[in-house]
Amino acid sequence: MDVRRILHTGRVVHHNGRPAAGAFVWVATGTAPTPEIAVVSDEKGYFRLALPPGHFEIRARSEGGQEGKAEATAGEEPLHIEIEVSAPD
C-alpha cells in the first residue's frame, strides 16, 4: 500500500533571484518510493511536490538547461523547498 504523501511547495529561482518559469523538478534520490514524474514550475517559478516521509534530494533544471538541487526531509508538515539553478561550473 502506498505511504501517505504530503503536498509540499517550492520555488525554482536563478542565482539573481529571478523566478525560473517552466523548470522541471524531480526527486533524484530518496529513502522512500516516489514516482519518477517531473513537475513543471509555473510562471513565477512555484511548484508543488508530493513526498512521503523521508529524506530526499530534489533537483531542478531550467528551460535554459541550468541545474540546481536542494535537500528536503519530509514529514507530516508541509515544507517550502527553494532551489537555485545556475550554469554548471
Binding site: 522541471f24 533524484a28 529513502t31 519518477e36 514524474i37 513537475v39 513543471v40 508543488r48 508530493a50
Partner: protein
C-alpha cells in the same frame, strides 16, 4: 484479487456499464502476451546493434552498493535521435495538465489509439488532486520535431487498485486517443506476462523522456538485465530519472522484432524494498490481469471512459 477499470468521469448520459473485468491470477503461472502484429515492424541495423535481446547470465554494468540514486553510477543512458525507427516511434512524450500543476511523463502505444503509461501520470490524489485534466501526447518526439503529430487527450482509465488505494504495484493507466497517431497499426508494443523463470536474467530495454537530460524533449534509452522479480514488480539496473514514469520496460525475444513490454517504469531506487538489498529501479510487473485489462482498454472504442462519476 480482482482488477477493475476506473475511468476519468466524462459526461455521457445513458451509457451502459462495461462488462466486469477478468479475474486475475495471483501469480504468473503461464505466459500471456497480447497478439503479435500481423506484420511486425522491422528493426534497422543501428537499432539491432543497440538493443538487447534474450537472456544473459551477467549484468552489463556492475552496480556498487552505496548511494540511493536512480542513475546508477555513471549515467549509461543513450540519446535516441532517429525517433522514427521502431521501437522508438512508439514511445511518447507526455505533457500532463492537472488542477495542482503540470508535469512530464512517458507513455507508449499499444494500439494506434491507446497509450499506456503509469497510473500516477493520469491520476494522483496527492500530487494532482485527482485526475489529470488533459494530456498532450507526442510519439517519437525529438526536440521540436513531432514526426507523427501531437494529440491532446482528456479520456483516461486506470485500475481500482491504483485509483482507490494508490497501490504502487498497480500503477498503470491508459490514455484513449480520438484518432490514430501512427498510420501503421503494427507499430505498437506487445504486452506480456511471463513466469519468474522467463524474466530473471532477461535483458531489458528502458526508454523515456526525462526532464534531465533532454528537458523532456529528447528520448533516452538504457539497457541491462532484469535483476529480480517479485509477484508484482520487476527490478533492473537501468538508469532513469524524473519524467520517465510510464515508460516501457521491454524485452525482445530471440528471433523476434516486435518489443514486448514486461513492466511500466515508475520508481527509482526508493521504490526498492530494503529487504532486497539492491540498488535497482523498478516497474509494476505485467501480470495476466494487466494483459487482460490492457486488451480490454485496447479493444473498446472509447476505452470504457465514463464508467463512474
Amino acid at each position: 484479487m480482482k482488477l477493475e477499470s476506473v475511468s476519468r468521469p466524462v459526461a455521457r448520459p445513458g451509457r451502459e456499464m462495461d462488462a466486469p473485468p477478468p479475474k486475475p491470477s495471483q501469480v504468473v503461472e503461464r505466459t500471456k502476451i497480447t497478439a503479435a502484429a500481423a506484420n511486425p515492424p522491422e528493426l534497422s541495423d543501428p537499432v539491432r546493434r543497440r538493443i538487447v535481446v534474450g537472456k544473459s547470465a551477467k549484468p552489463l554494468i556492475a552496480p556498487e552498493s552505496t548511494g540511493l540514486e536512480s542513475v546508477i553510477d555513471a549515467d549509461e543512458r543513450t540519446r535516441i535521435v532517429n525517433t522514427t525507427e521502431s521501437p522508438w516511434r512508439m514511445v511518447c512524450a507526455l505533457a500532463i495538465d492537472s488542477e495542482w500543476g503540470t508535469f512530464i511523463g512517458t507513455g507508449w502505444l499499444v494500439t494506434p489509439t491507446t497509450v499506456i503509461t503509469a497510473g500516477h501520470c493520469v491520476f494522483d490524489k496527492s500530487q494532482m488532486n485527482g485526475w489529470a485534466r488533459s494530456i498532450t501526447i507526442t510519439p517519437g518526439r525529438e526536440r521540436e520535431r513531432a514526426p507523427y503529430g501531437i494529440a491532446k487527450a482528456t479520456r483516461f482509465s486506470s485500475v481500482d487498485r491504483w485509483v482507490s488505494d494508490q497501490d504502487p504495484d498497480f500503477d498503470l493507466a491508459a490514455i484513449h486517443l480520438d484518432r490514430p497517431l501512427l498510420d501503421d497499426p503494427d507499430s505498437v508494443f506487445r504486452v506480456g506476462a511471463f513466469t519468474d523463470e522467463e524474466l530473471v536474467e532477461h535483458m531489458i530495454n528502458v526508454s523515456g523522456y526525462p526532464g534531465s537530460p533532454g528537458g523532456g524533449q529528447e528520448l533516452y534509452w538504457a539497457k541491462n538485465r532484469i535483476r529480480a522479480v517479485s509477484p508484482r514488480r520487476i527490478f533492473y539496473d537501468v538508469d532513469t530519472s524524473g519524467g520517465q514514469s510510464g515508460g516501457p520496460a521491454f524485452i525482445f525475444r530471440e528471433g523476434e522484432t516486435q518489443p514486448i513490454v514486461v513492466g511500466i517504469h515508475a520508481y527509482g531506487f526508493g521504490g526498492t524494498p530494503a529487504s532486497m538489498n539492491m540498488r535497482v529501479n523498478s516497474a509494476p510487473r505485467i501480470i495476466p490481469a494487466v494483459v487482460e485489462q490492457i486488451e480490454k482498454w485496447s479493444n473498446t472504442a472509447d476505452g470504457g471512459a465514463g464508467d463512474i462519476g
